[in-house]
Amino acid sequence: MSQLVAKRTVDMQIIGDWVEPNSRVLDLGCGEGALLDYLVQSKQVSAVGVDLDFTRITACVRRGLTAYQGDMTAFLRSFPDKHFDRVICSRTAHELDDPAAVILEALRVGRALTVGFVNHGFWKNRLNMLLHGQKIRNEVYKTEWFQSRPANPVSVADFERFCAAKQIRIARRAHLAGNWRTPCRSFPNLLAGFALYDLAR
């Protein structure tokens, strides 16, 4: 398995560990449904995915997943409080127009919210900016700025500050080193490549 595929699946395992078996799970930005498929198979969850793209919804449907094509904020607004046991927002939050609104809505319709993101404060990213003064390009940030969707370069410190300001309870956190595999136990804002948070209100 290549390094990149390993990076793609490692957060799936951690997210899977946090998901209760047979629970009701919503994945915001579900893509082609790889994570939900894994959760259905490993945890027998009843899963719903949301994505904007017709082809990705088709991929989900072909996998037998339930998927909804549309805007995630409008989707969340159509559900009563605590409809889902868990909402997952994995590698999506940095691309949202209004991340605070989505996260707060997700915490309303879900009993728990998992957020996973690439830590922009990772030392290699800092060093890259210091040495080259250019947008980072590596196997995680694959595209030039002019080929990329707008994204917020969120860091571990940024995210924790946001949770504190909004009085969001952090039930669990998992910081992974630059290889996205080894746990990162100290100075996560500097040393973690990837961060996962399990949130509640």
Partner: protein
């Protein structure tokens, strides 16, 4: 639904019914139900006939049937050709056939003309055995539920133990949804396209204009007219107007623009046909009156107007509570008759009711009739819904 059927270009002028992927020559059959049938209105018929077609074979476990439900002006002939000389195949020939999205090598496809229709099934133009004359407006009011119940009796007669899927667009989508609600154990999948849980005031308004055009035609004669007679002018006008609601501004502009008819007189100051779109609509109206009964048009549009899942069951969530089927709703961006929001609401209500319901939205500019579109994307979605991939295996060995 317009009469514009997507017909693939024949390769090397080979007979089109022999083209690969085509079901070929087909023949309709009649299901005659001889017991009394009570309508939702309380009225009854001593029995009824449904004209239907089937393609493919029912399997040993009798559970590979796919029911196709037609829209307002559609019929049981949804694929194949009745004769090599036919100008057009069945109305959903692009979707249904061996190797197509609805693969007749795997599925036993059934499509019936609805109760109240006029293409061979019992409806207002059928003869009332008591009087020997057409029922006309003495025909019982047929609802979407009555249409669905009649089709269930047909499927029982055919020995179908479970529906692999029920598929329909527009009014067909309403039937598909109701199938899932009324017969939860019987229906495994529901695929509803370009449809709604209830028509908006605008959609009811268009239907009412159509009905008024028919009823204000003196030849309607309170619904009492001879076969091949009747309110031909009124029915043609109803069809011309309805046709506009099935397409879109963009698609009409692309097809006709402001092009003038070549035969148009040079003097612009008269009311002869000048624009191609006028000529097209008149042709649509004329061809419709040769195949459709005006009273059936009244009955079926009324059935559409009365369909209201939220009101019938208290709420949409309550309506979908019994559903066991996996559901896929498909909306089309340019559909302004049953717009994407109304399709989306169906999927959202099902999800709120804890059901498995997906929603996909295809960007097209063809309006309501987009569900009949030749689109590889739509075919891939339909095929993906009907034929599941094998489960993916996850390998975390690094």
């Amino acid at each position: 639904m317009t009469d514009d059927v997507a017909v693939a270009a024949p390769p090397d002028s080979a007979p089109r019914h022999l083209a690969p992927g085509d079901v070929g020559l087909v023949a309709p059959r009649d299901f005659v139900y001889t017991q009394p049938f009570a309508f939702k209105s309380g009225q009854t018929l001593p029995g009824f006939t449904l004209r239907y077609e089937t393609y493919g074979q029912l399997n040993a476990t009798r559970d590979n049937a796919v029911l196709i439900c037609h829209a307002l002006s559609g019929d049981h002939h949804c694929a194949g050709w009745h004769s090599p000389a036919d100008k057009k195949p069945g109305w959903w020939n692009n979707l249904i056939g061996p190797g197509k999205a609805v693969d007749t090598r795997r599925f036993f496809v059934v499509c019936a003309n609805v109760l109240g229709g006029c293409q061979g099934s019992t409806g207002p133009s059928s003869l009332d055995p008591e009087t020997g004359r057409p029922y006309g407006v003495t025909f019982p009011f047929a609802t979407i539920r009555d249409m669905v119940r009649a089709q269930k009796l047909l499927l029982d007669h055919l020995g179908v133990s479970q529906l692999h899927c029920v598929i329909g667009g527009s009014m067909g989508g309403m039937q598909a949804l109701l199938f899932g609600i009324k017969y939860p154990q019987f229906v495994r999948r529901v695929l509803a396209m370009a449809t709604t849980a209830r028509e908006s005031a605008q959609a009811i308004a268009f239907n009412e204009v159509g009905r008024q055009a028919i009823m204000q035609d003196p030849a309607w004669n309170a619904g009492d007219y001879p076969k091949d007679g009747g309110p031909r002018v009124g029915l043609a006008i109803a069809r011309m107007m309805a046709h506009i609601t099935y397409v879109s501004d963009a698609s009409m502009d692309r097809k006709f623009g402001r092009r003038k008819k070549e035969t148009a007189s040079s003097a612009a100051y008269n009311f002869d046909i000048q624009f191609e779109v006028e000529s097209y609509l008149r042709h649509q109206g004329q061809s419709f009156i040769n195949r459709f009964d005006a009273n059936s048009y009244l009955y079926i549009t009324r059935a559409l107007d009365q369909f209201d899942l939220a009101q019938t069951y208290g709420s949409l969530e309550a309506a979908f509570a019994p559903v066991e089927a996996e559901t896929l709703v498909v909306g089309f961006t340019s559909d302004w008759l049953f717009p994407p929001e109304q399709n989306r609401d169906l999927a959202l209500a099902m999800l709120r009711a804890g059901k498995r319901a997906s929603y996909a939205e295809l960007a097209t500019d063809l309006g309501h009739d987009s569900f009949l579109l030749e689109s590889e994307e739509l075919y891939a979605l339909v095929r993906g819904f009907l034929e599941r991939d094998q489960p993916y295996t996850f390998d975390f060995a690094i």
